[in-house]
Amino acid sequence: MFDNLLDPVVLCFVVGLTAGLLKSDLRFPDQLYESLSIYLLFAIGLKGGIELSKAAPGEVFLPALATVALGVIIPIAAYNLLRRLGRFSRPDAAALAAHYGSVSAVTYAVVIAYLTRLGQSYESFVTVLLVVLEIPAIAIGILIARMRTTPGGIKWGPLLHEVFLGKSIYLLVAGLLVGLLSGADRAEAVAPLFTGLFKGALALFLLEMGIITSRRMGDLRQAGPFLVIFGMAMPLLSGALGTLAGLLSGLSLGGTTVLATLAGSASYIAAPAAMRIAVPKANPTLYLAASLGITFPFNILAGIPIYHAMARFAHSFGG
């Protein structure tokens, strides 16, 4: 675990965090941040698609089903914890639940880099699980919020459009399709950009993520101690559920680690955007402080090795 902290990607996150905490005026230009996101999401999709083009279909079915189940169970669990133990208002609890049910693509990229460094193999279709897990939780979060607050009808059309055709999902799926259709050979000429530079770009992105995260940490006082604990306990719980789901659906040790990390990660891009419009009564400071100020750094710095240990532990029985 100490070794994980010395990975350049993680170190970049730490120096970014430090920049923010020391109030350095270092900040990436908006459009660099956005461009790096576009690059990373498309590259994740593309690499996934190329892998997938070599794989047998069908295999993905059971793990995808388990992932959908996680996408339903985790936000419901989170909602109940937040309402009963945390005494949060309905909109706040629903919005937070949507964040913890959904995923962080950057955390996914970091766990992949982690496994690659360890030489630990994983299923070629894990990118599909990333896409699958991003969607249901947001819909469920909206559903919970609306069921309990506005008895009137929910306009699902625009919301589903927003979720499925939102930037992040679209880029992931677009990359996946391009990779899958063109296949490894044809994609070779574009590989230097999307494969060779990936980890360097991820490192640079995490430097900026560190700065962004540090700003959210200032909101933690407003968020209160319950949310701080929740932000670390919830991913561990979800991670354990993810480990179980991985084991039961027949994933390898590497694949289980990825699924546990996905389950343990919280969205901070797609979910806030959807919640701001769908659940306006929820306070954005709370969900951003929790998912970006606590859970994201927790996962990057400590969570991933823990999920890996969970998966190893589970496989020592199940495997």
Binding site: Y268, P272, A273, R276, K281, P284, T285, L288, L292
Partner: protein, 100 residues
């Protein structure tokens, strides 16, 4: 050439509202609008684009006085409670009175 007085509506709001505001303004009948990306600080704290959607926009539209007041009333009723938003009117003089 003679000029005509119109109202300029200025709305400063979190960017998550951009498409909703544009939709509302068009429904209320404006002939056009202009949007700029800005940043700022108010009662709801500093808004600096920390998160992809956490930006601020400044939307302006030239229209006749009754419409301008209707827009402000609509904004007050719909968004003032839950969102970071500020709106104000001012007087402007335009050519081509029939355009606005």
């Amino acid at each position: 050439m003679p000029l005509t007085q119109r109202k300029l509506v200025t709305i400063i709001a979190e960017s998550a509202l951009e498409s909703l505001l544009v939709r509302d303004l068009k429904r209320l009948g404006v002939s056009g609008y202009t949007v700029a990306d800005v940043r700022g600080e108010g009662a709801r704290g500093k808004r600096k684009g920390d998160w992809d959607q956490n930006r601020t926009i400044c939307l302006t539209s030239i229209c006749q006085s009754p419409l301008a007041h209707a827009i402000l009333d609509h904004l007050a009723a719909t968004y003032f409670e839950d969102y970071a938003i500020v709106a104000y009117l001012s007087d402007v003089d335009v050519h081509r009175a029939n355009k606005f």
